[in-house]
Amino acid sequence: MKGNFIDNLPKVYGIYTGGFIGFIIIMAIAEQMGMTAKAIGIAFVAFTVFIYALIGWLSRTAQADAYYVAGRQVPTVFNGMATAADWMSGASFVAMAGGIYFKGYGYMALLVGWTGGYVLVASLLAPYLRKFGCYTVPDFIGTRYGGNLARFSAVVVLTVASFTYVTAQINATGTIASVALDIPFQYAVYVGLISILLCSMLGGMRGVTWTQVAQYIVLIIAYLLPVFWISNKMGAGFFPHFMLADEVARIGELEQQFGFVKNAAADLKSVPKGLAGITKAHSAVNATPWAFISLALAMMMGTASLPHVMMRYFTTPSVKAARKSVGWSLFFIFLLYSSAPMLATLSKLSLIDPNLPTGIIGKTFAEVEAIDWYQNWNQANLMFISDFNGNGTLELNEFFMGGKAVVLATPEIAGLPYVISGLVAAGGMAAAMSTADGLILAIANAISHDVYYKIIDPKAETAKRLLVARVLLVIIGFAGATIAAMEIQGILGSVIWAFDFAMSGLFFPLVLGVWWKRANRQGAVAGMLGGLIAGAWYLVWVRTGGSGFLGITQLTFGIFGSAVSLVLMVIVSLMTAEPDKATQKMVDDVRVPSGKSILGKSH
């Protein structure tokens, strides 16, 4: 191929996408010829991980600029794809449709929150931080406010939030690797970790960028193909997003007909941990306005404070490109998020509608227990039925399922070939890996650049800096995997906590750094540490039986944390001296897109 790599990107990824579709077709043919389900699963995961590792190796670099910000030459649309993969984690891919399936409207606040946050990113922060020319988010805080304490505080908040998040992603990678490769979870976690490190270790941000684009392509095909296929197979509509109104209404009818029968506590004890029944309406409004809005708001402000997302916009060629790139990111995210409720609808209807051949409610227990897919997923601990009322037929309240089953099991329930399940496993793996890569890199870069280079050894040579960065990458990865292997908390819970931690400590110090010239070092440090401590205190308080206030729950504690952060930052800033002339000039320069970046090209 002629010309440089950047100019050839559409061609390179076009060929890659074609090759991947070719691979799916080959697998489909192999399945017809008798390839086993297990072999297909292994082939999908192994093939895709091999490709990512190859990209990671081809992107290896010895330059600081390429390692930290991919040389600042990633075109808008491709950066959009990379950000979408960076953003959509194992939780989005595997757990989101399940959450909507079980909790309906109240849960969909996450859809609104995880997209609306990008408006804040585009308008309040991304273009200005791009103009600043920093390598990491603490780099901005450290230079804008000045002083090692401010820089270090930002590293602390970043590490707390990102580390909470990354254990969940390594957990998800391990779960999928253990199912697809059929190895115990404790080992699968490390297989997942090694795959993750292969993408990021040699090429840093450059390697992660080009693997994330590849991972986005895999995950979006893996999510959309089954949704469209199932919808067409069920006769629900050829374009599900515009055509499922009847199905949504039908679920409402069935809910009325069956009613939500409350199970006795003693009966529920027999249900395996992690499985749930349908207890909430599908499309009716089932949450108070504040419950919905507070969750959405927490996720939106968290989005704008998460460093692994923000640092993706440091890689664009210009300020203008950074703004547009946020739009593209959200467009690519929208493709998956708007499909999740459709998948939840199709999945639910196919299970509960007695008029459909796949429906199991109303069948006898003997009939359901004889179904192949029921046996498989019951064995995998993701489905469970129990005849509580002893009448011999399955009622809505007697059927239990795990949240992951909506994405993982629906293709099989709808009677799609196994090749689709293999594809879904590869998609889930791509989603979890890409997010884990972004997060581990964010933490390792912050510690290597901001703590090691800027605070400990400012004279270090590039080779030494990059060596430290890589060693940290491995250490943080293994620490994350070790905690993930302990399986302390669920995937989704810890993801939401990460958003709350990030917004508690970073939202206002970042935003006010650009939009309020008077904000100074003392205020920022008070805001970061005070916010983080207040948020963490609230979480611990509610977790240990505290009643909470204003309807703020353990999922939205960031609202309290960030409010404390804002108040502290304003009061302390106003009580201390205003920033010096040089800093005020710096803020003025950040607000203008043209001209040199604040920090030099390689600082």
Partner: protein, 86 residues
């Protein structure tokens, strides 16, 4: 008022408009979620349900591109747009 101050004033104005639209789609409409869901909306879905599935999400995508274009116009107007384009 210097050129730069005027530019920032306009930029801030655009921010407020953008945040106001953002507020409507992320918070405003969900204050009336229960009432609005009684009405049939686009493609036959109930209104609130449609907003949470597609409407608000799509509005955010359009809003960001609209914002980016407006901001570019403002930057051009005051001669602050970057020279080295992609």
């Amino acid at each position: 008022m210097s050129n730069q101050q005027k530019h920032w004033e306009k930029t801030r104005g655009l921010l407020f408009i953008t945040l106001a639209i953002w507020f409507v789609f992320s918070i405003g409409i969900f204050l009336f979620g229960a009432e609005m869901n009684e009405v049939t909306g686009p493609f036959g879905y109930p209104w609130t349900y449609w907003f949470t599935c597609q409407g608000s999400l799509g509005a955010f995508v359009i809003l960001i591109f609209w914002f980016a274009n407006r901001q570019e116009k403002i930057d051009e107007e005051f001669g602050f747009s970057e020279r080295e384009d992609e």
